[in-house]
Symmetry: C2
Subunit: 304 residues, 2 copies
């Protein structure tokens, strides 16, 4: 589909609305930008989710944000009137644990991520090493001597790390270069973090780029739009028919590409990081949604 043919769901005819509503049994929503933003609530979200449930649609969530703990997510969903259970939501830390267990991974992990992310790995039984967090003396020679510690690291895991710094990147680079078998695994690879309207900031994907360029490696990506996550998701959520899933997201790269890779129907909402102009200018078919809406709330009008 070319981007000029994308229909706003409220421009659909009554017949098309019915056809769309009947085309999916399960709605998978991204969270940031769809359910809420960093700074603002998005209107009508709680009601929209409840309407979908009332009409027999299964709800699931996939976010690239592992910074919140499950308890935080559960509390946030409670404000929307939704009871969240652990099996309803995937974020990169959970997907990485699942992946590591599936490959029977053993050994030390060097982890560039936030503490909530690290806790998910620790609670799953993995052993982590991390840092340095404090500034080091300004000597290239001494910094190399510090970070080149030859610890028996068997995987470098990189996600959002609000305090990522040059010594940590150098340390990751050295583990990866010293041991061709050391894995490189990424969670969120967003190049842009959307904070509020017209306010996008440097995302964690840039730092993965630095590591990939300096080591010549390609990461296994277990956040959206990672192919490895797309392979896992049906299994995690017990999805039998990917053609009966509607994926709702606010980002062209993370959400639409991911949904394309999964074989889901894909709907873009304009309540987050992507504008209507971004969507209309997009030429990459993987990044182009099947439908769009201003916000999740619009979807409920199809049931009226």
């Amino acid at each position: 589909m070319s981007s000029s043919q994308i229909r706003h769901i409220l421009d659909l005819s009554p017949k098309e609305r019915t056809r769309l509503v009947d085309s999916f049994d399960c709605v998978i929503c991204d969270c940031d930008g769809v359910l809420w933003t960093v700074f603002d609530p998005i209107p009508g979200v709680g009601e929209a989710l409840k309407t979908l449930q009332t009409h027999g649609k299964t709800l699931r969530y996939i976010t690239n944000n592992s910074v919140r703990t499950f308890d935080h997510y559960a509390a946030q969903f409670r404000t929307l009137g939704i009871t969240l259970t652990p099996s309803d939501i995937i974020h990169p830390a959970l997907a990485i644990v699942r992946h590591l267990k599936s490959i029977h991974f053993e050994g030390l992990i060097f982890c560039l991520a936030t503490q909530p992310f690290k806790n998910v790995l620790i609670n799953a039984g993995f052993e982590l090493t991390e840092g340095p967090d404090q500034p080091l003396e300004e000597s290239f020679k001494k910094i190399i001597a510090t970070v080149h510690d030859r610890a028996p690291v068997r995987a470098v895991v990189i996600d959002v790390d609000f305090n990522i710094n040059y010594p940590k990147l150098l340390r990751a680079e050295l583990y990866l270069k010293n041991d061709p078998k050391c894995l490189l695994i990424a969670g969120a690879t967003d190049k842009v973090l959307h904070a509020r309207k017209d306010f996008n900031l440097i995302g964690p994907g840039h730092f993965l780029d630095v590591l990939e360029q300096s080591t010549g490696r390609k990461a296994t990506v277990l956040g959206k739009p990672g192919k490895e996550l797309a392979n896992l998701v049906g299994d995690i959520f017990g999805i039998e028919d990917r053609g009966r899933v509607l994926f709702v997201g606010d980002m062209l790269e993370q959400d639409m590409v991911f949904a394309s890779r999964c074989g889901f129907h894909k709907m873009l909402v304009l309540s987050g990081g992507a504008s209507k102009d971004d969507m209309l200018q997009e030429r990459d078919v993987e990044r182009v949604p099947d439908y769009y809406a201003d916000r999740l709330e619009d979807l409920t009008k199809l049931f009226e």
Copy 2:
């Protein structure tokens, strides 16, 4: 010239040797990788420099390394038997001071660099703001609130910063996005730092890339191979005829491209970051040297 035609200077005939030696009055050397490496001295360098002086060649130095102070450089050159004066050497911090003075810059500078670099700017009378150096609480909202300080910053300067971190990059991004007139000025833009043979590490240029990508700006580059430095260098060193300069460096990008942009003769030495294979595989004419040698010492054999 295609890379397969590049001659090793010791393969030149006696007549060609004489012609090469007579073609330049001034030798400009890169430092790291040509005069010394991070870990090892390079043999024969002191003698080579003295031979060049004895034969009436003027010596000058251009390095991308502003991490050493002038006193450190002077001490390092003394071990080679060379007396260095401040006007003999350019590094990015000095070139940036010169540039800022030439444009009559006034105002606050946000500086991502090492302390020796910052001291050059401070000693030239500029006012800097810097940091945060310490890790911040892991909340995107709080980090934005901290770094989005709306200080009246009129230039972001980025060079090697061994403790560069995400909050500093975010802070730079916000100054640049909030004020279209805020300048973006870069020193060293090396993507690779060469430590020793077959041991290359992440260079500072990656972080400039992140800023350029996230802000849509292009930096004024006052380290090698910056066009802006190439414009300034003749003036700084009082060079009357760029065609009478031999530039000696160890990096294809920083040194050969820079020398191409300056209109210098260019010689690659294999004592640093680039290997003979790198050179032979190179197809970009700006990155291909006119001659090559194993090390600076080889040049003295042309005078025998």
